[in-house]
């Protein structure tokens, strides 16, 4: 017990010890801002991987580590789409995942927003055109926010989500 406390005291607070994102978010459309307004200061996210290389997943996981600690900004990760306000979709939509993605979208209660995370989700990246890929996310479900990068850094994801939830005139 003493050892554990000592370790925590020695470590101190690490939250926020990361370099800022150079580009403050992608272009957030005003329509997306309006859609996200009902959620006010909390946003519950369900992450759906439709064929990424798992780098985007690693960065999403990094968001909840003590350094980024997305919970302090009101961002929660839900275990089920039925508990989610926002779907974060990564990867090009593969032939095998197409139906699962549409199902998840249907299962997510209204109002909801969809965030395409990473270059693959936005335009299929290197996998564009492949027989096993049906297209980017917005071919199957409406996308409100796009966060580019391969993969986007956690700081960039946080910046984009902050920009999304900014009140008008604040930026």
């Amino acid at each position: 017990m003493f050892r554990i406390l000592k370790k925590s005291l020695k470590t101190g607070i690490v939250t926020g010890t990361y370099p800022g994102a150079e580009t403050a978010s992608g272009q957030i459309e005003p329509a997306a801002r309006d859609k996200v307004r009902p959620f006010r200061r909390s946003l519950t996210i369900r992450e759906v991987d439709t064929g990424s290389c798992n780098a985007c997943e690693m960065e999403m996981n990094a968001l909840v580590n003590p350094v980024y600690d997305a919970e302090r900004l009101g961002l929660h990760i839900a275990a089920s789409p039925r508990h989610a306000d926002a779907l974060v979709v990564t990867g090009p939509v593969t032939v095998n995942m197409e139906r699962a993605l549409k199902d998840v979208y249907k299962q997510t209660p209204h109002p909801k927003i969809v965030i395409a995370l990473g270059d693959c989700a936005i335009d299929c990246g290197l996998f564009k055109g492949s027989y096993a890929v049906t297209g980017p996310v917005d071919r199957h479900i409406p996308v409100d926010v796009r966060i580019p990068g391969c993969p986007p850094r956690p700081a960039a994801i946080l910046a984009a989500l902050a920009a999304l939830r900014e009140k008008e005139g604040q930026s």
Binding site: A62, P66, V104, Y131
Partner: protein, 530 residues
């Protein structure tokens, strides 16, 4: 190579009627045999006590348009000195059948189903003829790696059902999980049959993320495939890109300068470090012990920020190229790196003391998810999972690449095969990686960081390469096509061989322990599905 050459000669002498010719491919002894004889020879290699060859890779090549024939290649690793030996059989003249070796060699099970799905060649005698890569809604006759299948074909949607294996009886239930899971992880389907709490059977249904990676490689030139290799499995960007580059380098006779070899080892160890730290934390998290998870993910984040400072990429992407590496590490960067490694290792050692003192954690980890040495060997399990089950294999020692011949890594080996053993392997490897990074710094030679191609490879020439990534051995087979293109690229992530083994490790455990077992394997879905 003496062992493999002797084994090839022995096979030739024992079965003179089966062998058509014996040859050497890039220094690996190979036997071209009649396809009917493959099971006989494979069984002999696999079971003869002084050979105990395990199947490391099985792949097919469609030689059209040059020749109208398909070739099947079987790569065996011999037990004693881990030498490689190849068997090859032709399937030609419109014949689509070959004899399955799965009844003798478990490890071939998924490979042969994969060959059937992607090439339309049928493994006669295979005990499980269900589809693997092609899900049931794929139309009949769509075999993407055949040369007459266009890379951008739009697949029609057919109807079909996947037949799961059922256990029936009073009180037996099936629990389907996935493809979309509760955590932030990749998609895959698990089907548990349970009677009460214990798992009676687990069936893994994967390939949801199949993106057609091997077909996409065929559209690239040899020198231009690195970006795709980095995206086979994002967490193993360096492992895959180095494995790809090594194969191309031996095709093009490129001499990689010593400094580049050392830097490759450095980046491989950095990748191993941050992944192992993340895994150790995540395993604790799955026993509801959140504190080590917080510490480990904090350390992992430090290392990823270090990666970013060194190379401009948190995943160390864009640093490997055919011929060497793209960037050097400057002296101030070395100081930063060594200081950071020092801090993280001390930090981690503190945490280890906390973990080892925790009896309730040990209780959860010990005897959970046991993968016995016999099952591990039967499935030719590799990497961390294998080394936790007594399979003493590590390509860094067995077939040294990059700078590992000079660095002489120590291999962590445990025998219990439970979750704790897999955690201990990772803990030992964290320290070993720190040691290796310091050794790389001490021994780093001066000189250029990239070599230039010497020769254009002949069409149809091919090379194999193996890299011990953090998860286990990554194998690449690259065959040159016309005008510097790629005719075929076979990618094998260690996940592909370890996934079938997890089905055995779960049996007898309770479902709430499965996430923990799965985490202790931590296999890639993307690298498996391709």
């Amino acid at each position: 190579m003496a062992e493999a050459t002797a084994a090839a000669a022995l096979l030739h002498a024992e079965f003179p009627a089966a062998v058509r010719e014996s040859l050497m491919v890039q220094g690996i002894p190979a036997l071209r045999v009649f396809k009917e004889q493959i099971p006989l020879l494979a069984h002999y290699l696999h079971t003869k006590p002084d050979l105990r060859a395990s199947l490391s890779l099985l792949w097919a090549v469609d030689h059209r348009p040059r020749e109208s024939r398909d070739e099947l290649w079987y790569l065996f690793t011999l037990e004693e000195r881990k030498d490689w030996l190849l068997l090859c059989a032709d399937v030609q003249d419109g014949d689509r059948l070959f004899r399955s070796i799965t009844p003798h060699i478990h490890a071939a099970k998924w490979y042969e189903r994969e060959v059937r799905d992607l090439f339309g060649l049928i493994p006669v005698g295979h005990p499980d003829m269900r589809r693997l890569v092609r899900h049931e809604h794929w139309p009949k006759g769509a075999h993407p790696l055949k040369k007459d299948f266009a890379w951008d074909t739009v697949l029609r949607r057919a109807e079909g059902r996947y037949a799961f294996r059922h256990i029936e009886g009073e009180g037996v239930f099936e629990v389907p999980v996935g493809p979309i899971h509760a955590g932030i992880i990749e998609p895959g389907h698990f089907r548990f049959s349970v009677a009460g709490e214990p798992i009676m059977q687990l069936e893994v249904r994967h390939f949801w993320k199949h993106r057609g990676v091997e077909k996409l490689f065929e559209r690239r030139s040899l020198t231009d495939g690195v970006a795709l290799a980095e995206r086979v499995s994002g967490d193993t960007s360096v492992g895959h890109s180095v494995a790809y580059c090594q194969a191309v380098e031996s095709l093009m006779a490129i001499e990689v300068p010593p400094r580049a070899r050392y830097l490759r080892s450095l980046f491989l160890e950095l990748e191993r470090l941050h992944n192992h730290l993340g895994d150790i934390g995540a395993m604790c998290n799955d026993t509801a012990y959140v504190l080590p998870h917080a510490h480990c993910s904090r350390m992992k984040e430090r290392l990823m920020q270090l990666n970013d400072r060194l190379t401009g990429s948190r995943f160390l992407r864009g640093i490997t190229r055919v011929g060497g590496v793209c960037l050097d590490v400057s002296p101030p960067q070395w100081n930063d790196l060594l200081a950071e490694i020092e801090t993280v290792e001390a930090d981690f050692s503190d945490l280890e003391r906390i973990l080892f003192a925790n009896a309730s954690l040990t209780d959860r980890l010990e005897t959970t998810g046991v993968l016995s040495e016999q099952i591990a060997w039967d499935h030719a399990v590799v990497g961390v999972v294998g080394r936790a089950s007594g399979i003493d294999r590590d390509l860094r020692r067995d077939r040294p690449f990059a700078a590992y011949a000079d660095l002489k890594p120590c291999v962590a080996l445990y025998r219990y095969g439970d979750v704790r053993a897999r955690m201990r392997v990772r803990m030992d490897e964290v320290h070993e990686s720190c040691r290796l990074i310091r050794a790389i710094h001490r021994k780093l030679p001066e000189g250029p960081v990239a070599g230039e191609p010497v020769s254009e490879p002949a069409q149809g020439a091919w090379a194999l390469s193996g890299v011990e990534g953090w998860r286990g051995e990554i194998l690449y087979m690259v065959m040159a096509g016309e005008a510097g293109g790629i005719h075929r690229c076979k990618v094998r992530d260690p996940s592909f061989v370890n996934w079938p083994a997890i089905q055995w490790a779960a049996v007898g455990n309770i479902i709430p322990d499965f996430p923990l077992i799965n985490k202790s394997f931590n296999l890639s879905y993307a690298g498996n599905d391709l």
